[in-house]
């Protein structure tokens, strides 16, 4: 083996493979459709962005494209659900939530319709397309709707598990499917349990609560903190609603503070949900990491995440500041 080969091999070992969670979602959706005749896909001209080219070919009679018309997308989806189908509405999150909010509220959440919203490319995944295409508000908007289950998977393994679970779930769901590549944080034996936090790392000084693409960054931050002699617990809180209140209260009891991290506005999302529980049940020092009260500028997703400190270094810094302030 030449030296060059050895170097390359080392590099491969050091850098974990990255995955676009849309691949896991679309392959499981095909699996579900093959298994259950009620499964259908409804899109808003989002064939490629929702990764459904193969689904369309395999299940042409269970594939509906309503064009660029999100309010109609939700209306048609709810109609299909009311007639016994299990529709997956697959659309870019910015348009799906922003343009069809009332339909999601009334036809879907209020009516408890058996619809799955597969919100693609959320957060700042559409970095260079700017704030019109960013979807940093979606988590706050969806979380406040009664009856709506809200899940933000962390990696392809969890995305696939959540998709499989979605077939048996009763009622409407919002699934936030990441586009920004992430490494695997869960093993093949991972089992999704609705409303149950996954403890990815034990720790006694501080608790890092994250979901979506921030989970792998929280794990990296925990490793960096360990080097500094700080023990950080890492929780993957993929289910934002219904919220795992017990895990939050337990974190407040067993560690000195909590840092939340999400690829969304810092207001109203995961951090807000955690803060609501803490304030009422067990007040604890806290830092909420997310996009502050601004529209994100235009740039690549990675640039924007770094810009807002939504990376391992940002989480590490927040944990250090929190622990320092609390003594």
């Amino acid at each position: 083996m030449s030296i060059v080969d050895k170097v390359d091999e080392t590099k491969v070992l050091e850098e974990p493979a990255l995955f676009d969670c849309r691949d896991a979602y679309s392959s499981v959706l095909e699996e579900l459709a093959a298994h259950d005749q009620r499964v259908c896909a409804v899109i808003n001209d989002s064939l490629s962005s929702a990764r459904l080219e193969s689904f369309k070919t395999k299940f042409p009679d269970r594939f509906i494209n309503v064009g660029i018309a999100e309010q109609n997308l939700v209306g048609v989806g709810c109609g299909l659900a009311n007639s016994g189908m299990i529709p997956y509405l697959c659309a870019a999150s910015c348009f799906l939530t922003g343009r069809a909010m009332e339909q999601i509220k009334v036809d879907l959440a209020y009516s408890k319709t058996n619809v799955r919203l597969c919100a693609m490319s959320p957060g700042m995944a559409y970095g260079q397309l700017g704030p019109t295409h960013h979807s940093i508000e979606d988590l706050a908007w969806m979380r406040v709707l009664p009856n709506l289950t809200v899940i933000v998977p962390a990696d392809p393994v969890e995305t696939a598990a959540v998709m499989r679970y979605s077939l048996i779930h009763e009622g409407p769901m919002f699934l936030r499917i990441a586009r920004v590549p992430v490494p695997r944080v869960h093993g093949d034996d991972y089992e999704f349990r609705l409303g149950k936090t996954v403890r990815l790392r034990e720790g006694s000084d501080v608790t890092l609560i994250a979901n979506g693409l921030m989970v792998c960054r929280a794990l990296a931050a925990a490793q960096a903190l360990e080097v500094r002699g700080i023990s950080a617990c890492v929780l993957n809180m993929s289910t934002v609603k219904p919220l795992d209140r017990e895990a939050i209260i337990d974190a407040a009891r067993t560690t000195r503070g909590i840092v939340t991290a999400e690829e969304a506005l810092a207001a109203g999302g995961l951090g807000g949900a955690v803060a609501e529980v803490l304030a009422q049940e067990h007040p604890a020092p806290m830092r909420i990491l997310g996009v502050p009260d601004v529209f994100a500028p235009t740039g690549t997703a990675e640039f924007l995440l770094e810009h807002f400190g939504l990376n391992a270094a940002g989480i590490e810094r927040a944990a250090l500041e929190l622990l320092e302030r609390e003594g």
């Binding site: 509906i64 309503v66 064009g67 018309a69 109609n72 048609v76």
Partner: protein, 116 residues
Amino acid sequence: MTAQHYGLDNLIVIVDRNRIQQGDFTEKTLRMEPLADRWRAFGFSVAEVDGHNPEALLECFSALPIESGKPTCLIAHTTKGKGVSFAENKPAWHHGVPTREQLVDAARELGVEVNW
């Protein structure tokens, strides 16, 4: 657009065309006419009918769809508050709440027995 694209001729839309909205008459607020043409432009077959005439409505319903392969729109022309002199065709009564006296008057005009 979806209904016409998929040829949903089992879809019937009934428009209660009473020409009133909360603040004023629809045509004074923001013109909706030519309403039938607008539905046609979206691929619907349109019939206009007197919404106060049950026989005319039943006749429409018995001959649906108007056109095979096309969704139907029935524009039912109605007069809001019809038969109640103080409320008939008056925007103020779009969502007005009658007093007890007005309710008694309305029932009398409509020839309805009200027991309370």
